[in-house]
Symmetry: C2
Amino acid sequence: MSGFPASAAMARALDEARAAALRGEVPVGAAIVAGDGTIVAAAGNRTQELNDPTAHAEILAIRAACARIGDQRLVGHSLFVTLEPCAMCAAAIANARIARLIYGASDPKSGGVEHGARVFSHPQCHHAPEVVGGIAETQAAALLRTFFAARRLR
Amino acid sequence: MSGFPASAAMARALDEARAAALRGEVPVGAAIVAGDGTIVAAAGNRTQELNDPTAHAEILAIRAACARIGDQRLVGHSLFVTLEPCAMCAAAIANARIARLIYGASDPKSGGVEHGARVFSHPQCHHAPEVVGGIAETQAAALLRTFFAARRLR
């Protein structure tokens, strides 16, 4: 998978992750790209700011993209996110019928794609996107490491 | 589990499910109850109305309850829902640190609690609520059956 180019969308997701860190949020960012390559939505984690445990970057980006295109299904769209989605976000990606999921760092602790619930691997999941992991992994993981190291020092 | 009383909260969840059906939404309803027995939020499914694949009853109720109490964690709260939560909602319940999940009908097709992803059963899930299923199951399942039967006739 290392040959897959770190795209403008993943660069945007990383920007959203950095902006989240500056707000004191766990630095995860996401961007959604339409079939024609347009970035239709991007968001960073805002759980603290919004007092909303569902306000992960992926959920906010999905809601924004759906609002923008006026459809609850993002057929043909790709979601780029800096960290392996948790089970909540993975299932939201399935519910939104997103065609392709591209993520950065793997998340053995809380991930729900290649770890734990492995949301896409059950018949109760009615749509499984194509999944590409490890894109811009180094930058994404470094952002998280720096953030949590700084919090431990406080 | 059949001795567990169908409470006012489940009655409220059923009301929300009926109201969802009248809006043309899949009839699922949820209510969240604080430790003192107060219903702090209730919602029905609004995915069609809001063009939002995350707007399941549970997610809307969690977001409303968190906004009301000003906290992203619903410690000590119970969530009542008419249908077994999907993986997205189960993981949101875990993320919100809800103490107890009480649901009506089992959902072998899309459920993520006792089926498929079994979200609460993995170490990547950092909080597992107490789970009670089969409460008001007959009414909850009848609502769904009636709704889908009517849709097939159209």
